[in-house]
């Protein structure tokens, strides 16, 4: 009993089914990175006062570290009652999830969710913290 032919067919079908899955799953879907919007009233207000759009820390840092930062803010507020965050430029912010982050990023659907949905991340925060009313100009 030689069955090289059958076995190779099975292997090829297996490969096509499993590794090919991303290919046919993606067919017809545009390869587009999320476009984030920084045009909420609070950010525009900040721009008027400070001359440029800025986050708490530089953009590159925020991209990777925002979850760790939120975690530190939470620990600092809930455990040490310390609500003041001094950033790398020496500017102070009130450590508050809803009143600081979500005040500027009041367009959760066009900002946080855009990125998270693209990568399948589902932060569990919104079960307790209230999402901002969508605001953008």
């Amino acid at each position: 009993m030689k069955n090289a032919g059958t076995i190779v067919i099975v292997v090829v079908v297996g490969f096509v089914a499993f590794f090919g899955f991303p290919f046919y799953y993606n067919i017809g879907k545009a390869n587009e990175a999320p476009k984030l919007k920084f045009d909420t009233p609070a950010i525009l207000e900040w721009e008027k006062v400070n001359g440029k759009k800025e986050c708490v820390e530089p953009k590159e840092f925020m991209r990777g570290e925002h979850m760790q930062m939120l975690n530190q803010w939470r620990d600092s507020v809930v455990r040490n009652a310390d609500r003041v965050y001094v950033n790398s430029q020496g500017r102070s912010f009130t450590m508050s999830f809803q009143n600081t982050c979500m005040n500027c990023h009041s367009n959760k659907k066009d900002f946080c969710d855009k990125c998270h949905n693209y990568l399948g991340v589902k932060p569990y925060c919104w079960g307790c913290h209230i999402a901002p009313k969508e605001k953008q100009s």
């Binding site: 076995i7 993606n26 990175a33």
Partner: protein, 330 residues
């Protein structure tokens, strides 16, 4: 030397990728190498399996752990360990692949005072092997979030189950801990036990170090030195749609991770890792023991011309009668 050589090989791979990224060779490490690696993996895999499949399988191997099917109705057949039907074979193979049943029967041999030879049960290899393979598979499937435009719900459910302890931010994945723990155990097993150390070769250590390197670089970029993950997904989607792009500012740890994964894909069909395909071709696992029901003809038998007794008698009947020999037909 048997251990240091493969260790240096993996370190060299890391250094090559790191230096390459510093020298702005992102397109080489992010596009050329991954494409080549996947092609080598798929073609190499098929060639290896084809060669195995082309070897003739002369007979059934009934030496399996269970009662064979008998004509006597009061002797109970062990339908999974000694199957006589395709369904039984499927069940045996599925259990072997999914829970490593034959490794569960692993024993260790010890010489006690007396002198007395003792065979004991040895489950740690099975446990670590199972933990390693399953967490690898789960991590691999979880990675599909980088490979699909909208992440399917199944994968999101896997992510939330895998991180259900909700430790830290980003959430700690249990499979990351299990994978590193299991690979470390499998490595220490080869170093600590003298008999195992004696029979271990560089080809045994290399995949362990390589997989450990992949896992550690992945963990490094998830929890410690962050990479630009949106950029990673753009790169991967570019590769999949055959219009590759190199987004700026991804970070060198990602290219190291990707290069080690490519090395694993290239190494795969050349090495013992082919047991992934080979397990399905194990003769003691994939054949029904139906030697008494079905006639199996040895595939390399020459066609033998058979001269039956009837033909012999037809040919020599007259001579036999003359010599007084008995014949069946008059």
């Amino acid at each position: 030397m048997k251990i240091l050589l493969p260790l240096f090989a993996v370190v060299a791979l890391v250094v090559i990728a790191f230096v390459g990224v510093q020298a702005n060779l992102q397109a080489f490490f992010g596009i050329v190498i991954p494409y080549a690696a996947v092609a080598i993996f798929i073609i190499g895999f098929i060639v290896r399996v084809f060669r195995w499949g082309s070897s003739p399988v002369p007979f059934r191997i009934p030496t399996t752990a269970g009662q064979m099917k008998s004509f006597a109705p009061w002797i109970k057949q062990n339908k999974i360990d000694n199957p006589s039907s395709r369904l039984g074979v499927f069940a045996r193979m599925a259990l072997e692949v999914l829970v490593f049943r034959s490794l569960f029967r692993n024993t260790k041999t010890e010489l006690h005072d007396g002198p007395k030879l003792v065979y004991g049960s040895e489950k740690f290899l099975w446990l670590a092997g199972l933990a390693f393979h399953w967490s690898f598979l789960i991590i691999f499937v979880r990675h599909f979030r980088f490979f699909m435009q909208d992440v399917p719900t199944v994968i999101q459910i896997m992510e939330s189950l895998d991180s259900f302890l909700q430790i830290g931010a980003p959430l700690l994945y249990l499979t990351d801990v299990v994978l590193v723990g299991a690979v470390t155990f499998l490595f220490l097993r080869r170093v600590v036990m003298p008999q195992i150390k004696f029979i271990s070769l560089p080809a045994d250590y290399f995949p362990l170090f390589l997989i450990l390197g992949i896992a550690l670089s992945g963990i490094l970029m998830r929890y410690f030195t962050k990479v630009h993950i949106v950029g990673v997904k753009e790169l991967v989607m570019g590769l999949l749609s055959f219009s590759p792009v190199i987004p700026a500012g991804i970070g060198s740890v990602f290219y190291i991770h990707l290069f080690l994964v490519s090395a694993l894909l290239i190494y795969f069909p050349l090495s013992k890792l082919m047991h992934m395909g080979g397990v399905f071709l194990s003769p003691t696992r994939n054949m029904a023991n139906n030697s008494r029901e079905v006639r199996h003809i040895n595939p390399w038998n020459y066609p033998v011309h058979v001269h039956t007794y009837q033909e012999y008698e037809d040919e020599f009947r007259e001579k036999m009668k003359k010599a007084g020999l008995p014949v069946e037909k008059e």
